[in-house]
């Protein structure tokens, strides 16, 4: 943590909203990437960003500087996004058929011309990510979207590097199975 960041955090801990604005300017895009990685919808991701910075302002007094500030913020962002996604699941328009396969619940297959292929792919990725256990999902998002190192992920999640590697391995394996047809052709694009 550099001096500037330490100063911003200390001011924010004293209730200075200008300091929060400086932290927001610096980190809002990163928080948005994590949020979007989990919820996969623009409006929801923006809601999560707002919620994260309001929560940060309330809880920053608890930050003692034992870990890097960004890992503290990323953890807050990930937990908020996962909570948001869990609440949203009740009203999601995607559902599983009896075999557990992908099937849009609004009768998409009856009107394929109205939805772009790209949209379908995105929804399929979102559906596949939603099938992962929370810890594998969070680990994959930290690695694939935010490109954190194994060490940084282990700090953000409070687990060992071995656990990070194992979660990445099994998460990827499951995603590969779920998105088999999709990922084969994309690597060389």
């Amino acid at each position: 943590m550099n001096d500037r960041e330490a100063d911003q955090i200390a001011r924010c801990q004293r209730g200075d909203q200008d300091a929060l604005k400086e932290i927001f300017d610096q980190y809002h895009k990163k928080v948005y990437r994590i949020a979007y990685g989990v919820v996969r919808q623009r409006e929801d991701a923006l809601d999560v960003v707002q919620e994260v910075f309001i929560k940060l302002f309330r809880s920053i007094k608890n930050f003692k500087g034992k870990s890097a500030f960004y890992t503290y913020l990323y953890r807050l962002a990930m937990n908020t996004a996962i909570d948001h996604s869990r609440k949203k699941k009740k009203t999601t328009f995607l559902s599983l058929d009896e075999e557990g396969g992908f099937q849009p619940a609004d009768g998409y297959e009856k009107r394929p011309d109205h939805i772009a292929a790209q949209k379908e792919l995105e929804e399929k990725v979102r559906w596949a990510i939603d099938q992962l256990p929370q810890d594998q999902k969070a680990t994959l998002i930290y690695r694939e979207i935010e490109e954190l190192s194994y060490q940084e992920i282990s700090e953000a999640m409070g687990c060992s590097i071995g656990t990070v590697m194992s979660r990445l391995h099994y998460g990827r394996k499951k995603l590969q199975d779920l998105l088999k047809d999709m990922v084969k052709g994309r690597g060389s694009e």
Binding site: H28, R40, F53, F57, V125, Y150, G187, E189
Partner: protein, 170 residues
């Protein structure tokens, strides 16, 4: 030296995540051109990363974050002052004691002690503090003693005719 596919395959994800050591990286890079299976696995990992990451990059590129900061400011302003119960709960959440959960046995012990000691504390003992009045009047005919208890609203009067005959009447 020909590296076995199974040992390289264990390194492949670390290599893909740029977390391999220099030595591991050169091992994988020597192996990849001669192994179609590992090469294909690497391509699948790349495809997966693109499928996860590309929509996020795309969304961020187009995002303008309209009124987000203003909404955060409003959210902070509108947050009500926490009640004392909420503050107490939040103190419990923040307390290192709470995190270690040591307060649970401490509270349990306090409750047991309270249960054990409360019968002793509230045990009824005979009280001599109740207000009462005793009057004694000597006369030529009778000696009279009057006892009044305020709480029980009882009045006892003794009439003494002499040392041999004494009878209470109320």
């Amino acid at each position: 030296m020909k590296d076995s596919c199974s040992s390289i395959s264990q390194l492949l994800e670390r290599y893909f995540d740029r977390q391999a050591t220099d030595e591991e990286r050169s091992l994988v890079e020597r192996h990849l051109p001669v192994c179609q299976t590992c090469h294909e696995r690497l391509r699948v990992l790349e495809g997966l990363r693109k499928a996860i990451k590309a929509p996020v990059d795309e969304a961020l590129k187009e995002e303008t974050f309209p009124w987000v900061w203003e909404k955060i400011e409003r959210g902070i302003r509108l947050e009500k002052k926490p009640s004392w119960q909420e503050s107490f709960r939040s103190w419990l959440d923040l307390s290192p004691l709470s995190r270690k959960k040591v307060w649970i046995p401490a509270v349990a012990i306090a409750i047991v002690l309270a249960l054990v000691t409360s019968p002793l504390l509230f045990k009824k003992t005979p009280s001599y503090s109740e207000r009462s009045v005793v009057e004694y009047v000597e006369s030529g005919v009778y000696n009279v003693m009057v006892y009044e208890s305020e709480k029980a609203k009882v009045t006892v009067i003794w009439l003494f005719e002499g040392p041999q005959n004494e009878s209470p009447a109320s």
